[in-house]
């Protein structure tokens, strides 16, 4: 059996594993309360989560890493003080994780093969990074296998698959490159991963998803993108600490101005908080220390679908308009349209005046007897003067 490789405590429960790591019962209960809150569950659910985590044997987790920057691994590991969430994820028999596992080479691949072969339908597969599909996926191979092959093999027999970060969700950044990176759901038929959008994902949310799975035996409620609603169900804008400044009409006009120093709203600096669903302002980063808007930078909408393509330019309110060979803004097009119509009106008016003067000259023509013929009496239309209008007869 592969269960519990590398971790003290063997195949016991999560609580026992935490205890061997020096995590007190009190700290464990705090963690359960925090998970209840992160899952947006009522406080009364905390005992249920405590009970579930106390009794559950540790599920096995494999962490697949493909075409990525390891940012989601960083997000998991880079806590100044390793918190319980990180410990939980590590201690849950994290049998395979390229960046942090001790095993290497054939031994490491053997661990992965053992999990897939011996624990089908029980382990949790976490996928990080895009899966390149160009040229049958040769742009990312591990131990001679393509990412395409690995992700299909591992996720199809997993109990639950979690795609962390944007690249594993919908291809993210790498989907824009020549390798044609795709998300898990796009390349594995029949697998509906829990997509943890964000660049990177937030490890608190990942821990909450796993806790939910352990406590209730099912993934949390998901939205249309397969993202957990507890984390991606509300606009950043609605949870933002600068929202009052938005409603009051107080905006940062340029970096470093008075508004920026006073912590005003970053709306005019291109903040995509009003377009992005995420609990970033609530769970924050680095042990809840801060988050981008709190640090004075607008949201770039990293938790939204295809955000690299859709949310850029990050410092503009609106995307550029990309036409054939032209990259312009909606405002430019709009102003040109207005200017064009206004110019047409002016030109037309000039034409009308010119025609009126021409008609005036014609009406004041010299008659055969030499006298100046005055204008045609009032009652006839000013513009009348073409040969056609002088046509005699008519259909009557």
């Amino acid at each position: 059996m592969v269960d519990g490789i590398g971790f003290p405590g063997g195949a016991g429960t999560l609580v026992e594993a935490l205890a061997t790591r020096g995590v007190s019962r009190r700290r464990f209960l705090q963690f359960c309360s925090a998970m209840t809150a992160a899952l947006a569950l009522p406080k009364s659910y905390t005992p249920r989560i405590v009970a579930a985590l106390s009794q559950q044997t540790k599920p096995t987790i494999v962490w697949l890493e493909f075409q990525d920057c390891a940012g989601n691994t960083e997000s998991l590991l880079r806590s100044p003080h390793p918190d319980v969430a990180q410990l939980v994820i590590e201690i849950l028999s994290l049998n395979y994780h390229e960046t942090i596992m001790a095993a290497a080479g054939r031994q490491a691949e053997q661990n992965l093969d053992d999990v897939v072969a011996n624990l089908p339908g029980t382990y949790v597969a976490i996928v990080e990074g895009g899966i390149p599909v160009a040229e049958n996926g040769v742009y990312c191979t591990i131990a001679g296998r393509t990412a395409l092959d690995i992700v299909n093999r591992v996720t199809k027999s997993a109990a639950v698959t979690i795609a962390v970060g944007d690249c594993a969700w919908d291809g993210g950044f790498v989907s824009l490159g020549p390798t044609q990176g795709k998300g898990v759901a796009q390349v594995v038929a029949g697998v509906n991963p829990i997509n943890m959008g964000g660049c990177p994902h937030n490890s608190v949310n990942l821990a909450a998803v796993i806790v939910h799975y352990l406590a209730f035996g099912a993934p949390p409620a998901l939205d249309q993108y397969g993202r957990p609603l507890f984390a991606y169900g509300h606009l950043i804008h609605d949870q933002c600490e600068r929202r009052a400044h938005f409603d009051a009409g107080r905006y940062v006009e340029q970096w470093g101005d008075e508004g920026a120093r006073n912590g005003w709203c970053l709306y005019k600096m291109g903040c995509k908080g009003p377009q992005t669903d995420y609990n970033c302002p609530i769970v924050r980063w680095n042990d809840g220390t801060n988050w981008p808007v709190g640090a004075g930078h607008g949201c770039i909408g990293c938790a939204g679908p295809s955000f690299w393509a859709r949310m850029s330019p990050f410092y503009s309110r609106l995307p550029d308009v990309q036409m054939i060979g032209v990259d312009t803004t909606a405002q430019t097009i709009g102003l040109v349209a207005i200017g064009g119509v206004a110019a047409l009106a002016v030109v037309h008016r000039a034409g009308v005046i010119a025609r009126m003067q021409r008609d005036k000259r014609r009406r004041a023509a010299v008659a055969p007897d030499g006298r100046i013929v005055p204008e045609v009496p009032a009652g006839t239309d000013a513009g009348a003067g073409t040969a056609g209008d002088a046509g005699v007869g008519g259909p009557n």
Partner: protein
């Protein structure tokens, strides 16, 4: 048959020179008594109250929506207070959303009235779809491009305007739909929020939606310029009181006025035109052989 044509020699006493204009206009007279809307030859009731109400509600709403929308896009006002509690943006957003609802109702009313209103209000006389209507639109285009001296003497919409209004109406529907989807993505609760998932299926997502909502606003401003200019121009040439008719509902009945090209009206000549229209069109037909 509504249009009995009467030849009418209103010109001077014959040609005085080759270059002098001879006004021997053949004009048609509507026999007003046969038209239930006509009030003698003086005025004719064209725009019913719901049409005028919708028109001015839409007009005011577009102005309010454009100004508030411009603020929401790029807040151009200094904060009312740097410290005190304020609802400057919140209030303007509220006005925008409330006006949008009024706008939607007005557009809906006008759409509905296009099916039950009088002949001038009906979609069948606004959206060009018959040969005669396209001919009318073409003649009106000639008028605007100086190839024809007079506008098509329509009591209702000329069909070029009808085509333009059809497009503007579609743009209005577009703005309503995109605005509603944008509203759905921020409102968070209530029936409008049920539409939010739709945003996720649109190519380009919410940012493209916002960009298009913003872009189309400019088209309304451009249309506003054209609309006011054309109304003033046609009013000055036609002298049928088209501008005041948008307040009173009555247009001046010109001797050569024709009602319109009702698609459901069999009262058209063999070539698809009313007799009155043939009279009005007799001029350009000679100047451009292709038109004959």
């Amino acid at each position: 048959m509504a249009g009995t044509t009467v030849p009418l020699d209103r010109g001077g006493s014959g040609p005085v020179s080759e270059s002098a204009v001879v006004e021997r206009r053949i004009e048609s007279l509507e026999v007003a008594s046969e038209d239930q809307h006509a009030v003698g030859l003086g005025t004719i009731y064209v725009w019913e109250l719901p049409v005028r109400l919708a028109h001015w509600t839409i007009a005011v709403a577009i102005v309010v929506l454009t100004v508030t929308g411009a603020y929401i896009h790029g807040p151009f006002l200094a904060p009312s207070s740097p410290i005190e509690a304020s609802t400057q943006m919140a209030t303007i957003r509220f006005i925008h959303e409330l006006t949008a609802i009024v706008f939607t109702i007005a557009v809906g009313l006008r759409f509905y009235w296009g099916f039950i209103g009088n002949r001038y209000a009906r979609w069948s006389s606004i959206v060009p779809h018959s040969r005669a209507q396209f001919a009318s639109a073409r003649d009106m285009l000639k008028f605007y491009t100086f190839l024809r001296s007079e506008p098509v003497p329509m009591v209702g919409h000329n069909l070029l305007a009808g085509a333009a209004y059809s497009i503007v109406f579609l743009l209005m529907v577009f703005q309503i739909v995109t605005g509603l989807l944008l509203f759905a993505s921020v409102v968070g609760t209530g029936p409008a929020s049920w539409l939010e998932p739709i945003v996720g299926y649109l190519p380009g997502g919410i940012q493209t939606l916002r960009m298009l909502h913003y872009l189309v606003t400019f088209l309304f401003i451009a249309f506003l310029i054209h609309h006011i200019y054309s109304a003033m121009y046609v009013d000055s040439v036609e002298r049928d009181g088209v501008i005041s008719s948008m307040f009173t509902g009555f247009k001046n009945m010109r001797p050569h006025s024709t009602t319109d090209y009702p698609a459901d009206e069999p009262a058209v000549a063999d070539n698809g035109l009313t007799a009155a229209t043939i009279a009005a069109r007799s001029g350009p037909a000679e100047t451009t052989p292709a038109d004959a």
